[in-house]
Amino acid sequence: MAALVPPPPPPDPQFVLRGTRSAVNALCFCEGSQALERPLLFSGSQSGLVHIWSLQTQRAIAVLDGHGSQSVIWVQTLPQGQQLLSQGRDLQLCLWDLAEGRNAIVDSIRLESVGFCRSSILAGGQQRWTLAVPGKGSDEVQILEMPSKTSVCTLKPEADAKPGMPMCLGLWQLSPQANSSPRPLLLVGYEDGSVVLWDISERKVCSHIACHEEPVMGLDFDSQKARGVSGSAGKELVVWSVDGPQSLQVCGTHKLTNPGIADVAIRPDHKILATAGWDCRIRVFHWRTMKALAVLAFHSASVNCVAFATNGLLAAGSKDQRISVWSLYSRP
């Protein structure tokens, strides 16, 4: 019966943020308690600037310039304080202090990798948090203990594996009740199209699947369902799960119309999934069934990043210098 009703036309964005004056490479919603009274969105752009957008006034309230006009490829807020991490192509990873209207670099880490791999953090409620960054060797990933910046280990694939450069990282840990001591795990998407699960404490590869033909461009993981999704430069989106003793298994492959996924993001309530496509379109899927829900054709150049806010808002940044903000299937 429902099939007879013509599907509704694709929605329009809730609003559009303009003014970065260069391609938007990274997005992050402000998390934590202060997000409630002052919802913010951070964007990193090609020109090396980080914009702080107020979602209430829909204007940029501050611009952070710390990467010497080199492209910013990753921005991430820290849960505990008003702190922001930004990773730039100038090989600096900066930690910004934003509390009380300040915007100063309080710390920075010198990166060794010249690739485009975005870093990843794992922060519990505590003061200490873990950071994964692309390492010195072209195929290495370095794990740092923060804020002390002590190197925990370097994860280097075995000599004969040759997966190429790491392209995207995802830190997570098994839930404490499953295992008495939290074991941080790292998912890495490599250049050869494989996704690898590393056990950080044992510094070894737990599992390895070669699920893409092309380099993996983005991955996200749903620790609640122990399922993740990765997108590559190719035409397919692969859903995999971590079964039993930390082994990866492909659950399904979803063919796309046009090749190239720059980023994937699962909504914090684990209900829908959004992908940023090189074909200028944002695609939305039902996360449990992987049913395609919407194709949002708003941008006129490739979409570089997507991000979800805790309240369900979706933001997408594109090479056309615009950030579109969408409200889809918002929770009642």
């Binding site: 369902k225 399922r227 859903v239 659950c251 063919k255 119309t257 209900k271 449990r288 829900l293 194709v295």
Partner: protein
């Protein structure tokens, strides 16, 4: 004369005498009582011989006497109603046939409404309700030895069947509801069942019976067109009764066989219409079709070839009936052969109405379903020959449904006669017609029919939602059921429209018209070529100046463009681009296109493309207020979806209108208006741009149609293009409304129509008729009369029956128009074709043509009504 009058005769004579003279109630009652002994119901019944004598000889006379005495006073002689009761009992208990005849005689003999008539009618109603009619018929089923019996039966028959008419005539408005035909015949049906039940019982008892009287009743009722009333009672009951009784079946068969020949068709029509399927028909009729020549003719010829009114289920039960018995099967094969012959005859394809062609095709498909593999192999060569012949004629037809019928039937036949060979496959759209036809052959039929091969592989593909197709099964099954604590229903995740999700093209669309032309003409880069084609329409509308510089060249390129890459919307894109150029530079391009229409070395498709482009451009040019939003025009051939390259080159253009609507609505809802003024948006008036160039579009097209060139003969084989041409000219005429050029155009068009009016092809005729309507609509009425009255009259006499048109003209004498008219009509008809074909509105074989002719006539009437409002 009689030497010794019998006791019965004496007592009856005495009773009649008493009745006629006595006024004493007691005397009358005793007299009646004594006569009643002879009916056998009284306490001391008379001897059997006496009873018989009374029944055969004296009963009618006695009843007549009773009728003659009937009056209110006479009945009131005995106040307790005893006399009335006794009086009635004679009619209800005596022999039913005589009682019925006497009653009917009495009814017919009475002059007008009276107490006696009403009383008799009531008695007749009681007679019916007491089941005496069944007794009457049952009596007639017994073997009879009496002389004059056939005559009696004939009379009875006509009275039984004609009862509603007789009573209706006599009683007029006082008629009782029981005697209305819609009530009487179902009752008669029930009575027939009762009579048959008695027949069956007596057959069981070893007695001989004949149902011929019942058959004749049935036949006569059916001839009167009351099949539905009587058979809808009879057939369902018989269906049940014959289910497990062989005797009932035999009685039924006999019943059908005894139907007189002249009534056979009516009865069989009723049976086929009411029976619920071939099994029922087979049980009720048996092998009637083999035994009875008339029945065979009706079932295998009349129903199939001379009529086409049976619905598909009826046709199914008819042909199923033929297929159900080995004796009848040769008839089915014969029928299939003849059907195929008719199907394949080019004259029937050309002249038979579409509904009949569809009927015959349906019948062929049903036959094919019923025939098994070996039987088909036997007549394979004939089938093949018939099919080849038929496909050719059907594909030649210019009517799409006829072509589809040809394709579907051919596909099915070929798949049945060559089940293992490569299937014949035509391309046709999925329509209601094709779905219905294919549904006939799709399900595997039960019974002895070919179940080894469940129909040809033609079942229409079930369309699945794209979203469901693309999800691979593993995803949802990987999640063990129940682990998902919060069972999120999918109801809140209704997918949005994803039709815009198409593949992107990598190359950039050209930005200048000349680049586009170059890409289209010489580019080897397929993607560039595609992008150029997709961008062209928008470019032309944005750059009218530069388009005008190269318009003819561009049209030349587009006209010769071939679909090199199987681009999905190639046809639409090319057409829209052509229309865009034509609209931008109408005069020159139209001149070029019309000259190319009659030029050498074009394919028929290209010529038809020219016509389409001219029509669409004219439509666009004549659209009022088209300059306001030149890029958002809509043409019939274009897909409504916005192409992806356009969306890329103009950010946000695809979604902009939606926003605007939302914004406007918001403003509207927030704004309070104190008064409703003028409507907000007025259509700005602007001149019809088609006006100045209509001649360039129209006249060159009418110029050369009768001059065949080597590859193009409009009056010969290429009638499809001629049909398109007539439609195009009609459209151009219609679009030229309110222009000065309309009058000469109308004149030229009427001449064109006149030459072709008896064309054999339906599509061409349809085009001509719609062109007549366009002329009537576009040319102002005054000018119609002033400038082309002759053409008008000729058209009229072509459209309508010559007699009726004369009559219509004669009703308005004295006006200038009509004087002119009569002088014209008196003239011999110019270039007379066949007078037989002169009235399209009534005699054309094609429904569409008739409808168009009637429309044109109505328009003519309206124009006349407008010119002569006073008369």
């Amino acid at each position: 004369m009689d030497p010794a009058p019998s006791a019965v005769r004496l007592s009856v004579q005495e009773a009649i005498h008493t009745l006629s003279s006595s006024e004493d109630a007691g005397h009358i009652l005793t007299t009646l009582g004594s006569v009643r002994r002879y009916l056998g119901e009284a306490e001391d019944p008379a001897l059997a011989g006496e009873k018989k004598e009374f029944a055969t000889v004296h009963f009618s006379a006695f009843l007549r006497c009773l009728i003659s005495k009937l009056s209110q006073e006479w009945l009131e002689l005995s106040p307790d109603g005893q006399l009335e009761q006794l009086w009635e009992s004679f009619f209800l208990e005596g022999p039913a046939d005589q009682a019925f005849l006497v009653l009917m005689e009495g009814v017919e003999g009475s002059a007008g409404p009276s107490f006696r008539l009403m009383r008799m009618a009531q008695l007749l109603a009681t007679f019916l309700s007491k089941g005496r009619m069944a007794a009457l018929m049952e009596e007639q089923c017994r073997p009879q030895m009496k002389a004059g019996f056939p005559l009696l039966q004939e009379t009875l028959l006509s009275k039984v069947v004609g009862l509603p008419d007789h009573l209706g005539n006599r009683l007029q408005r006082d008629n009782l509801a029981q005697f209305f035909p819609q009530n009487y015949f179902p009752v008669l049906g029930k009575e027939i069942l009762q009579a048959l039940q008695v027949v069956v019982n007596s057959l069981r008892g070893g007695l001989d019976c004949s149902v011929s009287f019942v058959s004749r009743v049935l036949g006569k009722v059916c001839i009167q067109g009351r099949q539905k009333e009587i058979l809808s009672v009879l057939v369902p009951q018989l269906t049940v009764l014959t289910q497990d009784s062989g005797l009932w079946q035999r009685v039924c068969w006999r019943l059908a066989e005894q139907v007189p020949d002249q009534a056979m068709e009516a009865v069989l029509t009723g049976f086929v219409e009411v029976a619920s399927g071939p099994e029922v028909l087979s049980r009720l009729l048996g092998n009637l079709v083999v035994k009875n020549k008339k029945a065979q003719f009706v079932m295998t010829q009349k129903f199939l070839f001379l009529q086409y009114r049976l619905t598909t289920p009826m046709l199914k039960s008819l042909l199923g009936y033929l297929a159900m018995d080995s004796q009848r099967r040769p008839l089915l094969i014969q029928a299939l052969k003849e059907l195929l012959e008719t199907w394949g005859s080019s004259s029937s394809v050309r002249h038979a109405p579409l509904a009949q062609q569809r009927y015959i095709s349906t019948a062929i498909l049903i036959c094919l379903v019923h025939l098994g593999e070996p039987e088909l192999q036997d007549i394979r060569d004939e089938l093949l020959a018939g099919m080849m012949e038929g496909v050719k004629c059907h594909l030649d037809s210019s009517l799409t449904p006829v072509r589809h019928l040809g394709m579907i039937v051919a596909e099915v036949i070929s798949s049945r006669i060559h089940p293992e060979g490569p299937p014949l496959k035509f391309q046709y759209e999925d329509s209601e017609l094709s779905r219905e036809m294919l549904a006939l052959v799709a399900p595997a039929p039960e019974g002895d029919c070919s179940s080894e091969e469940g129909g040809p592989p033609l079942a229409p593909a079930v369309t699945k939602a794209p979203a469901e197709m693309s999800v691979h099964g593993g995803v949802s099954s990987a999640q063990p059921p129940g682990s998902d604590s919060e069972l999120d229903s999918d109801d809140e995740f209704i997918p949005y429209d994803m039709s815009g999700d198409t593949e992107l093209k990598s190359s950039k669309a050209p930005l200048y018209i000349r680049d586009c032309m170059e890409a289209l003409a010489v580019s080897e880069d397929v993607q560039r070529w595609e992008a150029a084609l997709q961008a062209l329409e928008g470019l032309v509308y944005r750059n009218p100046e530069s388009t005008r510089e190269v318009s003819v060249e561009l049209v030349k390129i587009l006209l010769h463009l071939e679909d090199r890459t199987s681009l999905a919307r190639f046809g639409a894109l090319r057409q829209r681009a052509l229309v865009a150029v034509t609209v931008t530079d109408p005069a020159r391009v139209a001149e070029y296109l019309t000259s190319q229409f009659y030029a050498l070395n074009y394919s028929l498709q290209q010529r038809m493309d020219i016509l389409d482009v001219l029509t669409l451009s004219a439509q666009e040019l004549s659209r009022p207020g088209r300059l306001r939003r030149p890029s958002q025009h809509d043409s019939p051939g274009s897909g409504s979806q916005c192409s992806p390259t356009q969306a890329v080159s103009q950010p946000g253009s695809a979604t902009a209108p939606n926003w605007r609507v939302v914004v406007e609505e918001r403003i509207k809802s927030k704004t309070r208006r104190f008064s409703k003024g003028l409507p907000q948006r007025e259509l700005s008036s602007s001149p019809n741009e088609f006006s100045s160039v209509a001649g360039h579009f129209f006249f060159p097209l009418t110029r050369h149609f009768d001059r065949p060139v080597v590859t193009f003969d409009l009056l010969g084989d290429d009638q499809l293009v001629l049909g398109r041409l007539t439609h195009t000219l009609g459209s151009l005429m219609y679009l030229a409304v309110n222009t000065t050029v309309a009058v000469p155009m109308g004149k030229a068009l009427m001449e064109f129509i006149w030459v072709l009016r008896f064309h054999a092809d339906t599509y061409v005729r349809r085009g001509l008729l719609s062109a007549v309507s366009s002329v009537l609509l576009s040319v102002p009425a005054e000018r119609l009369l002033g400038d082309l009255p002759d053409e008008l009259l000729e058209a009229r006499s072509w459209l309508a029956d010559p007699m009726s048109s004369l009559h219509a003209l004669g009703t308005h004498p004295g006006t200038a128009c009509m004087e002119h008219a009569s002088s014209c009509v008196a003239r011999p008809v110019l270039s007379c074709g066949s007078h037989a074909a002169a009235d399209v509105a009534e005699k054309d074989a094609d429904d569409g043509c008739r409808e168009l002719a009637v429309k044109a006539l109505l328009l003519l009437e309206r124009i006349r009504g407008r010119l002569l409002p006073s008369s």
